[in-house]
Amino acid sequence: MKGVSTIHRMGGGLLLLVILLTPFIMLWLGKPFWLDIFTRLVILAIAASSLSLLLSVAGLASFGHAAYIGLGAYAVGIPVYYETYGGAPWLASYSGWWHLLLGVSVCALFALVTGAISLRTKGVHFIMITMAFSQMILYLLVGLEEFGGDDGLSVDLRSDFSLPDLSLPSAESFGFPSLNLPSLNLPPVNLPPVSLPPVSLEEPWVFYLVCFALLLLVLFIVSKVKHSHFGRVLQAARQNEQRVRALGINPYRYRLLVFVVAGVFAGLSGFLFANYAYFVSPSMVEWTRSGELMFMVILGGVSSLLGPVVGASVFVLLEHFLSRLTVFWHLPFGLLLLMVVLFGRGGIIGMLKRDSQQ
């Protein structure tokens, strides 16, 4: 990667390695709860990375990003609910493939429509309109009685990723009458059933590895986007829109695309969240959640690739430890938020970078 020294990359690799290994070490030490904490950390890191993509590359401060997390989560919750309790057969399914497909499609569509409208505005207006759309999703989910409304919805099982049996269907199964042709005496063709090895997402350590792998994938894609022509156009437009337009490029389309991509990634984290918690609720979409995501991005450092990972880690761990010290942990938390914004230019990574340069 241009401009990033080998030492930086080693540091990033080390961080990811630590995140990967710590819960397993703790598991071995007889403390299984840390797997839960780190799973949540990784899922939030994915969401924060998607927001960071919007913010650092395109300069778009979306305060409604939590909406996508909610949509991706309910794309799991609703099909599982119908499959368990009956109803809406076209929607019902335990299959993770279906959940992902549904989630990605809904998020992409929502991002496309709201992005098309929101991207006509800028600055604080953009912030407010993205928040407005997120509030609409919140109230929509609250209004959906069938799925618990305000109380949320339990997800009984995690998404099922085993492949279906593959065997050629016979003509009869399609409803055609069997033809009495002179027999050619061909043996029936039956492929052996294919399925993934019998490990499911219900196993916490499997689930963690899946989440971690997806984090790596998202980081990889974000990095590729940043350094592609597409990414460079966006960054140029962020810094000097006039110039980009003068070159005959309309940044609107680029922004819309990155807005959709970021929305889909956030939806992915929503899918993971629903599986992690076995639970979805409208409160996932509250504006304070979008604020927390923003906080993670800023805390970690907007311009660095691993910034959101750092931000999510600090956020989750701080929340965990502070809440055990006192019930009033929001106070030091708020103070920290204040301090970081006031004094921490470039977030934690930025602060430490400056130190190392002196």
Binding site: F63, T121, I127, A132, G291, L335, L338, L342
Partner: protein
């Protein structure tokens, strides 16, 4: 059509609108003049209510309670402006949002630590506990007071902004901040004053509504988002815009809540209507804001920029 009901709802809409105005006026001023998004405005709303409640109970007088609340809020606003807010003027809106979000967390926890989780009730003096009868219409006396006080404050604000020198500075600041400092005006003083004024207005809103509801933790956090919607629709920096938009939203929200289920019931089942109506009436306000942002992003009455 039950006209008494409609009139009652109209008064309620007016009251909500006035409350929103008190909250939005300060917000639009700080946003328009200092380009500051201040979420912690919600905390001044809450603190005005708590200080008033505490003082009313301690001194056994609602009047003293109000005075204490106004003074207390002003003092606190001064401290917060000097220590935190003044550093935020030069920062971008996102930083301001996050920093003031941190302030809300601190304020909410602080109130919990000082006054406990239960909240405080404000006992009203006897004369204000009764009702006023106007023909068939019976209105709680206190609500008329809120409307009266609110309109008085709105009028005073109008006079301040349009007929005094200070107001001229405020309007000038909303139009063109740079010019102001080049003209030798003490911008720092202006900013601090405007911030304190806004905070006091918010505190007044809080203490006016608390006797009806309660002084409770985080009571401003939900209404602040609506206040932002008001100033976006009204036009950032415009008091007149805030007033019109606040009343508009007050009426839409109230009438939506009151009559939407009946309207829906005309073409869907009663159960469906009762479920859909609250959700739709909640979305209505945001829909309006989204529309304004797309078709007239500067708002209904933007201050004239020079």
């Amino acid at each position: 059509m039950d006209w008494v009901l409609v009139l009652t709802q109209a008064l309620n809409g007016l009251q909500l609108g006035i409350l929103l105005f008190l909250l939005s006026a300060g917000l639009t001023l700080t946003f328009g003049i200092m380009d500051l998004i201040n979420l912690a405005h919600a905390s001044f709303f809450m603190l005005g209510a708590f200080v008033c409640a505490w003082a009313t109970l301690y001194f056994d007088s609602f009047l003293i309670g109000i005075v204490c609340a106004v003074l207390g809020t002003a003092l606190l606003a001064f401290v917060v402006e000097k220590s935190v807010i003044s550093h935020l003027y030069v920062r971008d809106h996102l930083d301001q949002l996050l920093a003031t979000f941190g302030l809300i967390l601190i304020a909410d926890t602080g109130v919990h630590l000082i006054w406990g989780p239960a909240g405080l009730a404000i006992p009203l003096p006897e004369p204000l506990q009764g009702q006023v009868r106007m023909g068939e219409l019976v209105v709680p006396a206190y609500r008329l007071l809120i409307i009266g006080v609110g309109l008085f404050i709105a009028a005073s604000l109008y006079w301040l902004v349009n007929k005094t020198r200070a107001g001229m500075l405020i309007r000038a600041g909303a139009s063109n901040r740079q010019m102001l400092s080049t003209l030798g005006i003490n911008v720092q003083l202006l900013f601090t004053s405007v911030f304190i004024l806004g905070a006091v207005l918010a505190g007044l809103g809080g203490l006016l509504i608390a006797p009806i509801t309660e002084a409770s933790i985080g009571m401003g956090n939900d209404i602040i988002i609506t206040a932002f919607v008001v100033i976006i629709i009204g036009g950032i920096g415009s008091i007149k815009g805030a007033f019109v938009a606040a009343l508009l939203i007050g009426f839409i929200d109230t009438f939506g809540r009151a009559f939407l289920d009946s309207i829906f019931a005309l073409f869907m089942s009663v159960d469906a209507a009762e479920t859909a109506a609250p959700a739709v009436s909640a979305i209505l306000v945001y829909l309006l804001m989204a529309l304004v942002l797309v078709w007239r992003p500067q708002g209904l009455f933007p201050p004239k920029l020079r």
